[in-house]
Symmetry: C2
């Protein structure tokens, strides 16, 4: 087998979800792409890794010291939505319904994986709250065991700011979910938090 | 959203099977990789596209004028296995059971996609046959309509070499396939080509 092909397949297999066959399929596709397109692909990967920064205010990925959201004057600075990771922030942004600020923790507390509270950007959040501009903290972290642990720890830290309202996003049956296949815990929550029509 | 992230996601989405979510997941993984690893990934992609060549003898992917198989003196030069594409060659190589040579057509005849016989490396195959060293041509192309058309055309060209034995790989029920789910055509073939035990 060609060393160049072997090489590119091995390198591609370092990416998650890409096995031997997929790597080969990608390589074959790369071969058919315009050489400029391949160069811009390979450059964008390298530049992304080297030049990306974390927003000093919210820990979002950023090209500058402050991310586009933190430097956007039109956003509502009285509300902060706390998320685990950048992907979650993007999912919320994609709804186009939220106009407040964000705070990216950078993970959840997980003793199993050696992630403690000090590994997350919780102090940075508390520092921001000290300024007094924030009126509401919306916690939007997952309902896993780690997520609940993180929520519990966060709540204990947020007690230091009694004037700040703390909320979490609603749990319930997702749109398009079939009740038959939804787990019991979600149904229980959805029943307890039922709304009058 | 960060422009660097946006960029890398857009570029990754040019690859087959990679949508918005997967691109984001790959980008997040790239962020966690060692910067040297990312560089070697990006370099290998670019180098593969620029430096790869096609073997002058069999049309396999190669780093040199001749691919490792064509330049391997220990291979049986009396047998040539004709395949559609490099991936097929690799699948056969991976069995470790075939020690002859290959010939990569580079596709199948497909009028729908504008691929005619002249777009495939059929002349190159005939030129090799002229030398008289080849005793058997094994045709291992897929049984799609395009594959059958290609097979038909190939047979007509190979008539010019009456001394060369032409065979195709056996069709039948694959190991691990459940008879219940195998299509009728395959079962029909498997029945017609039944073997005595």
């Amino acid at each position: 087998m060609s060393k160049l092909l072997d090489n590119v397949c091995m390198e591609l297999q370092r990416l998650p979800g890409i096995g031997r066959r997929t790597a080969l399929r990608l390589a074959m596709h790369i071969l058919k792409m315009e050489s400029e397109t391949v160069d811009s692909l390979s450059e964008s990967i390298s530049r992304f890794r080297h030049d990306i920064r974390y927003c000093l205010s919210c820990n979002n990925l950023s090209d500058e010291a402050l991310c586009p959201i933190c430097s956007d004057e039109r956003r509502d600075r009285s509300t902060v939505c706390v998320v685990e990771q950048v992907g979650d922030l993007m999912s919320i942004e994609n709804t186009g319904q939220y106009h407040g600020m964000y705070h990216v923790l950078g993970g959840v507390i997980s003793p199993m994986q050696g992630v403690g509270p000090s590994d997350l950007k919780i102090d940075l959040l508390c520092d921001k709250l000290l300024a007094g501009e924030i009126k509401e903290v919306i916690i939007a972290i997952s309902t896993s065991v780690e997520g609940e642990t993180t929520l519990f720890y966060l709540m204990s830290r947020l007690k230091a700011f009694p004037d700040v309202k703390v909320t979490t996003i609603a749990r319930g049956i997702g749109f398009g979910d079939e009740l038959e296949y939804v787990d019991e815990l979600t149904i229980t929550h959805a029943l307890l938090n039922r709304r009058e029509l």
